[in-house]
Amino acid sequence: DQQVKQNSPSLSVQEGRISILNCDYTNSMFDYFLWYKKYPAEGPTFLISISSIKDKNEDGRFTVFLNKSAKHLSLHIVPSQPGDSAVYFCAVTGNQFYFGTGTSLTVIP
């Protein structure tokens, strides 16, 4: 069974606007949540994370929100830039690491 779901395979956003990427998970025991970014022909790279004791973590243009009651994680990118165009994977950890299926973000200049 899929432990982590990203229900939007793709997302297009105008440059300068907000991008919101979503992720749902199934197990309330997960205690750490991460977002990875992947460009074509490269490996995924770590972007931002949040622990289960927080509900928000911010790093420059990137903010991750955690709603534990809804088992929902989101990544906000403000303002979006063309260089943000990539595939974004959410990941959750407990005893194991689980990745979502990815959302391909396209930022239109």
């Binding site: 205690d31 750490y32 991460l34 490996g43 995924p44 990941a91 690491f97 990745f99 990815g102």
Partner: protein, 114 residues
């Protein structure tokens, strides 16, 4: 940079042939992983290693074997390649960031089985 090198970067092979992919790390990390990335499936764990000669299966291990004879090298072998194993393969190491750990990935190997 975590010093993870995957080789080869690209490989085309015929159905039924054995193929070995190599992951090399330079930082003495204990845990190493092999993932495959496929559209609609994200990243799925094939095998992982928690030390020299210590390995275990992941979610999609059928048709794959691994070996780790040295800390720095983790090999993934497709014993008899099939078209369903056409994919992009990523090696990863786990890095402790406190209060949890995350993965650092290699650049990937694109494998095509014809």
């Amino acid at each position: 940079d975590a010093g993870i090198t995957q080789s080869p970067r690209h490989k085309v092979t015929e159905t039924g042939t054995p193929v070995t992919l190599r992951c090399h790390q330079t930082e003495n990390h204990r845990y190493m992983y092999w993932y495959r990335q496929d559209p609609g499936h994200g990243l799925r764990l094939i095998h992982y290693s928690y030390g020299v000669k210590d390995t275990d299966k992941g979610e999609v291990s059928d048709g794959y074997s691994v070996s780790r004879s040295k800390t720095e090298d983790f090999l993934l072998t497709l014993e008899s390649a099939t078209s369903s194993q056409t994919s992009v393969y990523f090696c990863a190491i786990s890095v402790w960031w406190g209060p949890s750990y995350g993965y650092t990935f290699g650049s990937g190997t694109r494998l095509t089985v014809v």
